[in-house]
Subunit: 336 residues, 2 copies
């Protein structure tokens, strides 16, 4: 137990982490029903995530979407996609938009850092371009099916250069599909007294990875198809994530259909968390070993509350990823 | 605004305090109606106090209590009182009981620190003894009326040596009066999913002061008669309060009806906040000037939510203190 009368410790950061671990579980609360606004507010108050198993299983999107349905509904439409070069680590994609007050904290589509020719560490945002939706879907499925990683990585993205609440792709470029999801999450809207600032649709495959990052806003994440795995760290694990300042940069497409090249951008340096809680690379700090990441996998219809300022890292399901699901549906197979 | 990309500052404590001041008002939210459990939970979530003007004005206690009524109801009963010697600073009285996990953090009835003969700073708890309730009330009124400060200071107290949820005087020694108050505060009970752990009645006069302290538990304070003035500091103002470790001690009554003497107790040193936000003595730190104390005065029927871990200092009303009220009622005057 905490003894407030104990003398100051020589390492308050270590003590903060240790005490938090003693007082909080590293497993996530699993609800089987949508919480009331008051029950939700208790989680907001404690700044703790939870998952509602099957919380969105009756959404029309959850009941009806498949690759074929999406292609049909989005026929002829062009969407914004985020592209990183072949051979890099899997594309690290962040949600864009939402939140209050745009800030340099919102690194989005952050790939692994790249060292520039003059030795500066750069954080390189993906190249964004419009593609035909069906062409994009075909790429996502082909890459998943072949395991091929020597093409470019492409992920659907709502991200523009200046993130703001207008990065809201399900109410904009994907508005055709918006009627299939609930327009708000009532328990959160009532508790927080705010309509959603942004509603985004993300499409990727098992190669899609989002680097460890944090957002300024409360987030409700709903899995429509496939699986996604989250690794979560509370805000106070800040000393574990090894945040470093990097130069801002973007990939830009060379002449015609040329290669993606790194271009240093103007503007101040941006912070990036180097540590990978899964130990798959990414240097930690002397405190990283004290972090107790909370891991949760979302399946079809599951709903995750991710509190503001938590650090999260996400990656596509390797067992039932989007396209595996699509293939199984096409073959008439039943997915778990 | 906060710029999360800003380089680390040389003084993170100063920046924490300054940023908090920018984001939060130093005035308290004033409600005119009891909040719903959800509205209450929003305050808990933001760890911010509020006051409900007249929130308890329909309680039987608020409507009917006076010195004469209390004396009649408590006739012949003996109660625990806390006594400090004459001539010291006004008795600093803390709420006892409630909360989870007894800890040395709960300095109760903390008088100003006293230096022992061998130079050790001691935090001296009051002497506690039983008195006839009417005798205690007579003392409180006589002291208020004469302004005499060269008697002993006596305050009613639920405090025992080992604080715990059983320090709950309104359901114990004052149980005769318990039917006159609401047995719980429904919005808090529903939101926090807990019945009150302790319900305490405090009686004092305008000389009653509670030194700056903090508690581990959520507190709803209801003013039944008179006024009380609070000076509140958020938990992150910790660096302002100049907490020091002191030796535990108690006043003990000498032989017979003898003088109160300081007795060093066994046990670990206990923390005590030296700073007085009102600048009436009590040394600060180099951060104290950055604190923005929240001040609120409670009148008859007002209700204050004091979030867990806030620092609070309380003192009796100097304009309409308990006995002023009692005198006015006796004289048939109307007290606003």
């Amino acid at each position: 137990m905490i003894d407030p009368a104990a003398p100051p410790t020589s390492d308050p950061i270590a003590e903060l982490l240790t005490t938090y671990n003693e007082l909080n579980s590293s497993s996530i609360d699993e609800l089987t029903e949508i919480p009331s606004p008051l029950e939700f507010m208790r989680y907001v108050s404690r700044n703790r995530p939870f998952v509602v198993r099957g919380g969105a299983s009756d959404w029309k999107a959850t009941r009806t979407w498949s690759v074929d349905v999406l292609k049909e509904r989005m026929a002829g439409m062009r969407v914004n996609v985020a592209i990183t070069p072949k051979g890099t680590v899997p594309c690290a994609l962040r949600r864009g938009g939402g939140g209050e007050g745009g800030s340099a904290d919102r690194i989005r589509n952050a790939d692994a850092p790249v060292k520039s020719e003059d030795g500066e560490m750069l954080l390189v945002k993906p190249w964004e371009e419009e593609q035909d939706f069906a062409q994009f879907m075909d790429f996502v499925i082909r890459q998943e099916g072949s395991g091929e990683m020597n093409g470019e990585n492409i992920t659907s993205s709502a991200v523009s250069t200046n993130p703001s609440a207008e990065n809201d792709n399900l109410r904009n470029e994907y508005s055709e599909l918006f009627t299939d999801v609930d327009p708000s999450i009532p328990f959160a809207r009532i508790a927080l007294q705010k309509a959603p600032e942004a509603i985004n649709l993300w499409i990727g495959n098992s190669h899609s990875v989002t680097a460890l990052h944090k957002d300024n806003y409360e987030n409700i994440y709903v899995q429509i198809i496939g699986q996604k795995h989250f690794v979560l760290l509370p805000p106070l694990a800040y000393a574990c994530v090894n945040e470093r300042e990097m130069g801002p940069a973007s990939y830009v497409r060379g002449e015609g259909k040329g290669e993606l090249l790194v271009k240093r951008e103007d503007g101040g340096r941006v912070p990036f968390a180097l540590w990978d809680p899964d130990g798959l690379g990414g240097e930690g700090t002397r405190y990283s070993g004290l972090a107790r990441p909370v891991r949760v996998s979302l399946g079809k219809g599951d709903m995750l509350y991710l509190p503001a300022l938590w650090h999260d890292m996400e990656f596509g399901g390797s067992f039932y990823p989007f396209c595996g699901f699509a293939r199984n549906v096409a073959l008439g197979a039943v997915v778990d």
